[in-house]
């Protein structure tokens, strides 16, 4: 059953349908803008993700030093050295990009590694500390991409639904209502003319 089969044919309905079409088209435009913005943001973030390969290499390098420290101090010794390091201060707060809530990670305090007394543990900590900020940045970027990609997919579906289903249906409905209203006004005109003729014949 077509959408036109369910619509009441009045001028009020036609006005409402026209308003709805205009609103839908504006919505579609906005969604398209959001889609473009999110796509641009994704592209920007994807460029950042390319640092992952470099970072992987750096982590492997730092891990080598960490293994060295493990070998020198053992598990309990290294744990003891690690306990002298003040923890890194990281704050995660929500940020909105075109209404999409993504995490924003702020490094408030870098870990203080100076109290480490073992040279091998210090070397490992030094290597790892340099990477922590980059790791946090990468984690932020990857989680943003994940959220934005999902939102992008949803926005795309909405745009497609508006473009291919909702707007064509509304247009069809408007055309139908307009046609019916035109027919009705013609009928009315014809009826009025006939009534006028009948009244005129009775008078003569």
């Amino acid at each position: 059953m077509s959408i036109s089969g369910r619509a009441a044919v009045t001028r009020g309905v036609l006005l409402r349908l026209r308003e709805q079409l205009e609103f839908t088209k504006k919505g579609q435009e906005l969604l398209k803008m959001k889609r473009d913005h999110l796509a641009a943001e994704t592209n920007r973030l994807l460029a950042k993700v390319t640092m992952r390969k470099d970072l992987d290499q750096k982590i492997m390098e730092a891990y080598k030093y960490l293994k060295d420290a493990y070998l020198n101090l053992g598990y309990s010794g290294l744990l003891s050295q690690a306990s002298t390091v003040d923890r890194m201060g990281v704050k995660v707060r929500p940020r909105s990009i075109m209404g999409v809530i993504v995490p924003e990670v702020i490094v408030e305090r870098e870990p203080e590694i100076k109290p480490i007394s073992s040279p091998s543990a210090y070397r490992a900590a030094e290597k790892l500390r340099g990477l922590m900020k980059e790791l946090v940045e990468l984690a932020e970027t990857e989680s943003r991409i994940e959220i934005i990609a999902y939102e992008l997919m949803m926005t795309n579906r909405k745009v497609n639904a508006l473009e291919r289903i909702l707007i064509p249906n509304l247009l069809e409905l408007i055309r139908y209502v307009e046609g019916r209203l035109e027919e009705e006004s013609l009928e009315e005109f014809f009826r009025a003319k006939r009534v006028k003729q009948v009244i005129g014949r009775e008078k003569t």
Partner: protein, 340 residues
Amino acid sequence: MKKPETIYLITRTHGRKTHLLNPEDFNVMARSRSLTEIVTQLLRSDYAVEISKLPSREVDSTRLETIFLKTLVDRYFTVIKDARGKIQEFLRAYAARVEVENLKRILRAKHTGEPIESQNLIPLGREHTIINFPALLKAGDIDETVSLLKETPYATLTSRLDVYKRLGQPIALESYLDRIYFERVLDRMKGLVDGDSLRWLVCQEIDLRNLLLIFTLKLREATPRIIKDMHIPTYYRLRSGVVRRLIHGKFEDAREILAGIYSEVADELFKKGEEESRVETVISKVLYKYATFALTNFFMELSYVVAYMLLCEREAKNLVAITTAVDLGMPEDVLRSRIL
């Protein structure tokens, strides 16, 4: 002429020395592909009793490390039990390196307020120490921890609190603990038989500890004054002038300064670069080399017992390194270079 109890102690230590793993055992273990293989080999050693208590599913490098350290402590106190009088007092002071390490671990944790439990310490029985470790573990901060050491040989640690607070680094307290430890060892060493060979071994250890401290602080670009404050003011082959030059000179100058004194340390340290990660290994290797030398050259002297204790420590460190490396899947050649 040595007293019979001294001869008894040295003879017993000769017997105990045969229980130590030899370099070939370490090499075989370094070739192992899994911890199970290492455990199988250790079942033929002094570690068998403790290891056999461990369910095979629960074998990991952390648990094995605890066993190695527990065995080390047991070995120390078995030797002490065999000794009598002043020698026993001296050996007890020498074995206090375990409690010093535990104190350092507690102080490090208290520095950041990180929780620490007895499992994080080297297993040391209550009967072997006068330090109330459970109370120290519960202490709220460094001030409280240090105040709990009032009635112990480490009471003077309070005098270092202001340096620690100024620097904000527990190394200020750690180095002072080392100083107290070695001063106590030297004090207990006075009047003992075989004083020369004992001094040769113990004082070289102090020299090496000073070198480690100076190198560690130099690599962190600490000021000469801080280094001077923290080192142990007892020298053997390192004369005070040499220490002064090391403290005031550049790190790279150490090779030249140490030439003819501790050339084996300097040559090995500056051979490949990456000094910072190798400094501990290089210095430990030299120390255990001296212990091995003492074991073969002073075989009827009291320093033989000290050398044995040092080699027990080397064995524990090597086993920890091997099990950790196997657990982490490190290549055999890397591991071999780290075996002390």
